[in-house]
Amino acid sequence: MSRDARPAKGPLIYRQSIWTRLTHWIWAACLFFLMLTGLQIFNAYPKLDIGKESGFEYDNSIFEIGARQAGDELQGFTRIFGSEFDTTGVLGVSNGQVRAFPAAVTIPSNQDLATGRVIHFFFAWLLVGTLAIWFIAGIANGHLRQLLPRRSDLRALGPEIADHARLRFHHQRRYGALQKLTYAGVMFVLLPLMILTGLSMSPSFNAVAPFLLDVFGGRQTARTLHFLIMLALIGFFLIHILMVLAAGPLNGLRSMLSGWYRIDPEPAASAQGPAGDASAPKQLFAPEQRIDHEPRSGEAQPADRKEA
């Protein structure tokens, strides 16, 4: 029961603007539908090829999900770089049906490429539209700058990884180095790459920007990259959920719903009374992280006063 000992509460700060919160939940829905309709689309040609075209009379695939008749039974297989695995029941054959990804992870549940495409492109537009809104709002309110990793973040990276490995999370005003690198990686690298590899599959867009085909190494390589970046985004999603659960899901949820986030108490500050005493020493944190701790943007300060 010693865990129940109530630690001193830190102040609530206004951390997430309405733009960030709105777009965050729209993206959550977008990624959900894009992924499951994407798997539906993949099922129509359950192979990943490298190059400009697909090999029918030669083999240029690195990944394939298929099915074959083995005696009385249907056998599902998955081939990765020439190594084959029996995946009957999940990939290739599921519920006695021949289909690459099973009904549980495709929208719609039955094999329906037309519907999968219609929904995929709807949410692709929604994602691009909300990304544009977020970028513009982020430039205006300084959120983008908060996400960009700086030199001090790279120096803080070592201690932060060590703390994360021990599941010791710091709830600070600013994003930590790992958070910055992760969010910046998703927002500035993975999502733009997702959009560009997606557009590279469009024959009409190929005529608008033919160089994209060369950048990604051909339409089929672009398709393969689109799939691999999807896996990276799923990886991000899983880690994101785990980190939210481990670091305090209610505080995290509150900040993404209302904007208000409770940061760790500042021991010296709470003893002295007035908050915002940035010069007070703080043993819990790596010294490098203090750099990010001075109040800068205007929005955080009223919150401090409110708590103090």
């Binding site: 075209e53 009904a103 719609p108 490429l113 219609v118 867009f205």
Partner: protein
């Protein structure tokens, strides 16, 4: 604090319950909302109109599909969909090596045409090595030779109210009670006059084979494969799709695919 712990536990539990319910039910919960004709489906489909407008805005009338070199042709063109039309009319044409083939150009034109195979072969031709992208996801590079559709249209003189070029085909993928459902496709006047839009009769330096659409198929290089109708016997210029199939302007559009297949 104990209250908070309870909240956390409750949250976790409901999250796990929700996730497992979703996994057990599969994605069936979205099937009704996405079905053709549902109100949500119409909202989803509105994005197709946005795609069409955006791509027309960016690509304009003349942006060209990439053309490849002979070195990029590594295999024969992969056939898909219909590969052997069964109608008696087509079978008769095929037996005679399509020597009796005629292409009709009709509808909203001032000068309806009947073009024989010799006439088509004698018209100025264009040869292009392009990539065929199937809606399923695969691609295949091949060399296509044919008459620019624009030249044929210039001769037929479309009327001012002609908005779409419809391709009527010999092949039927399915049969209904009323008989075979023949394949048809349509494109707008922009794609019809696009320099790479050709009525192809040659593939990789040889006459177009039957599985690839002999004797005549259209190439619409900035769209997906299903727009490039095979086994064409009639071209019709229309103002709307109301009189055709289920009114969506193409065999596959009638079955839920986008009419515009630029992506």
């Amino acid at each position: 604090m104990s209250r908070t712990n309870l909240d956390r536990r409750a949250l976790l539990r409901s999250g796990v319950l929700g996730a497992s319910a979703l996994a057990l039910g599969g994605c069936k919960i979205f099937d009704d909302a996405t079905r053709q004709g549902s109100a949500m489906r119409n909202v989803f489909e509105s994005a197709g109109e946005l795609t069409y407008r955006a791509q027309r805005l960016l690509g304009g009338k003349q942006s060209l599909a990439r053309e490849y070199s002979r070195d990029d042709i590594l295999q024969s063109q992969h056939p898909n969909g219909s590969v052997f039309p069964e109608s008696a009319e087509y079978q008769a044409l095929m037996r005679n090596d399509f020597r009796d083939f005629e292409l009709a150009v009709s509808g909203l034109v001032d000068n309806p045409l009947i073009l024989s195979r010799e006439t088509l072969l004698a018209m100025p031709a264009r040869t292009q090595i392009t990539r065929h992208d199937c809606v399923e996801g695969w691609s295949c590079i091949a060399e296509w030779t044919g008459v620019p559709l624009g030249l044929v249209l210039d001769e037929a003189r479309p009327r001012a109210n002609a908005r779409y070029v419809v391709f009527h085909c010999h092949d039927a993928i399915e049969r209904s009670l009323a008989g075979p459902v023949y394949y048809y496709e349509s494109i707008d006047m922009i794609d019809a006059h696009h320099p790479q839009t050709i009525l192809a009769y040659g593939l990789n330096g040889a006459p177009l084979p039957v599985p690839n659409g002999a004797p005549l198929r259209v190439r619409v290089e900035r769209q997906l494969g299903y727009k490039m109708a095979k086994y064409i016997h009639k071209i019709e210029l229309v103002e709307s799709f109301a009189e055709l199939g289920n009114g969506k302007g193409s065999y596959w559009a009638d079955r839920g695919y986008e009419w515009y297949a630029g992506i």
